[in-house]
């Protein structure tokens, strides 16, 4: 039982760290009203996003090892007295990797365009970082008699900022590919440009359904819209089905997730990198410049998770029982406690979605280049258009969004039924009587292993 306890203990430690940091963020922003935005930039972007992204570099190695029945990196150790030379689940490798990158030679090819070559990593790094500015992390609550919002910026154009800045990130990769003066790098840069332009279209269309449903493009309003319940079963304990985007727009979520995944240039869509064929747009980069490309990829993962959480998973809201929690005496008197709890919930959702992205990256084989383009233009784009029309019609017909939710739940049900039903065989062969065979649940589908 030692290991499960260790894992749960580590999870609780991380939760405690997140909660206390968010508490610090709320109080610092309340104490320094003139520098409140700066506090949020430092704590939300530089601490949370940066730390999660850099931990994801080690998590990718460790989690992929667990998915593939390996152990993963555990050799870098810091001999601290209490820890007794423990591997700390591989975390010290982070320091080893960073030190290695910092001390590597910063190589610039002779034929490269020096200025653009140095500019490209910054251009790849900056926009993905800026994307996070519009994501609300926690609710606006009163701390020390001052209302503290937990979002860096709330521009009127909201989600459109996301599209605008996300498409800027392609400059970094294209310039890196071109300025390296290397055929393979150029090929990678061109692939990145065409892939990202293709998926911009689907990315934009996928969110239109949510914008129509809540008639806003601003993330705080989208999140507050998802806080209410479609069907409330128990008003006392706040049990019900929340109006989360995943229930209203499952197709929109799949489209958004796919398109945004393609934007991160990670494995099912890693044509610009293409480790096995061309090394990709960063083939000539070494040291920390390559590190910036790599870390910007992981920041993109975090930001994509944060945006998906905000738009499709109710942002910082709990699925059930939030109103009940807010009415407790202690929390009603000290609303910052609610703020800390809800923003911790937000980061939990973000980390779970990050895990989902890594799981997808380590489950699926990469697409061929024509398959990537065919998926973008022939599947996602028509599906996105169809989704916009159907969602629009349903919202027009029933502004309470219940019709939209029924259709959404139906879509989820169909996919779930197709996923769970049958073990890869048509049920006709399996059961001559025509009754569907008793199929073990998805999680227990093959306890025999070797799959």
């Amino acid at each position: 039982m030692a290991r499960p306890l260790t894992i749960v203990g580590a999870m609780l430690f991380i939760l405690g760290a997140i909660a206390s940091l968010m508490g610090v963020a709320y109080f610092l922003a309340a104490l320094l009203p003139s520098a409140g935005r700066l506090v949020q930039i430092v704590i939300l972007m530089l601490v949370f996003v940066m730390v999660i992204a850099s931990l994801l570099t080690i998590a990718e190695r460790k989690w992929s090892a667990m998915m593939q029945d390996r152990i993963g990196p555990n050799r870098a150790r810091i001999d601290l007295p209490i820890l007794r030379d423990s591997a700390l689940m591989g975390v010290p490798h982070l320091a080893a990797d960073a030190l290695k990158m910092l001390f590597k030679e910063d190589f610039v090819p002779k034929a490269a365009n020096g200025f653009l070559f140095n500019l490209a990593p910054i251009l790849a790094f900056g926009p993905v970082f800026a994307l996070f500015a519009i994501v609300p992390v926690g609710p606006s609550v009163r701390v020390l008699d001052r209302v503290v919002p937990m979002v860096i910026a709330t521009p009127d154009f909201g989600v459109l900022f996301l599209f605008a800045i996300a498409s800027l990130a392609v400059y970094g990769t294209s310039l890196a590919g071109w300025s390296s003066n290397n055929k393979l790098a150029l090929l990678g840069g061109v692939r990145a440009a065409s892939q990202m332009i293709s998926y911009e279209v689907a990315l934009g269309l996928s969110l239109v359904g949510m914008m129509v449903a809540f008639s806003t493009v601003q993330l705080p309003e989208l999140i507050d819209g998802q806080a209410r319940y479609l069907w409330l079963f128990s008003p006392r304990f706040d049990l019900g089905l929340p109006a989360w985007g995943i229930f209203l727009q499952p197709v929109g979520f799949v489209l958004f997730f796919t398109a945004a995944f393609a934007e991160t240039k990670r494995t099912p869509f890693d044509l610009p990198e293409g480790d096995s064929e061309i090394i990709g747009y960063f083939v000539e980069y070494s040291g920390m410049k390559f590190g910036m490309f790599m870390i910007s990829e992981f920041i993109e993962v975090v930001v994509l998770s944060a945006v998906s959480t905000a738009i499709f998973f109710g942002g910082y809201h709990l699925p059930i029982g939030e109103g009940w929690l807010a009415r407790r005496g202690l929390i009603a008197n000290h609303p910052w406690i609610l703020g800390v709890i809800l923003s911790t919930v937000f980061w939990i959702k973000v980390v779970v979605l990050c895990w989902l992205q890594l799981a997808i990256r380590w489950t699926f084989p990469r697409f061929r280049y024509d398959q990537v383009q065919a998926l973008g233009w022939k599947m996602l784009l028509p599906l996105g258009l169809l989704n916009v029309f159907i969602s629009g019609a349903l919202v027009l017909w029933d502004p309470s969004l219940r019709a939209l939710a029924v259709v959404g739940l139906l879509e989820i049900g169909i996919v779930a039924a197709l996923t769970v039903r049958g073990e890869g065989h048509p049920s006709k062969i399996d059961s001559p009587a025509g009754s569907s065979p008793s199929v073990p649940a998805l999680t227990g589908a093959s306890t025999t292993g070797h799959d």
Partner: protein, 211 residues
Amino acid sequence: MAYDASRNPSQDVRERIYLPELLRGLAVTTRHFLRNLFGQRDTNASVLNRKGRSLVTTVQYPEERVAYPPGYRGLHRLVPREDGKPRCVACYMCATVCPAQCIYIEAGEYDPADSSAASRVIEKFPTTFVIDELRCIVCGLCVEACPKDAIRMDTATHAPSEYTRQGFVYDIPKLLNGPPVSHSSDPWKRRESSEAPEHQALEPHTRIGET
């Protein structure tokens, strides 16, 4: 969940939609992840006998080692007698048979005038016994050739690390280790302090047909 090769993926609705098959793949990955995350890893070096939920089959080499098979030829050792001296009688058989010529022996003679127990039953002993482990080809012929069971390759260690080439030249103090061995036919047993019966002290071939 064996894959049915007769199934045409292009006619299967789940394959065409792609999302259900994608989710099933994710379920496999997730199951492995959770089992390896929460399952205590069994460190049993024989991987097939591992118990528990974890599916990891890694043997982390320096800390965990797979047991060597019985016939494995590892580093040599000189087998000690019960009194801690080597069983070797400096007969030069191993040095003669060695195809790599990596064994060098210098023999010494027990003083006939000495009244100690060993000198009355054994004539010779090695004053120098050196094996150059870098030249050794690990063929095991020395073990086969030894008439006294004095050299063995059962240490189950291989490729020891040294800083210099000279370090690989193993002499008696480095070679002499492991549990002592004695056979009933050992002449050494014929010394006065030995309590073994007289007939057991004979060489085995002299006892053939003796009944």
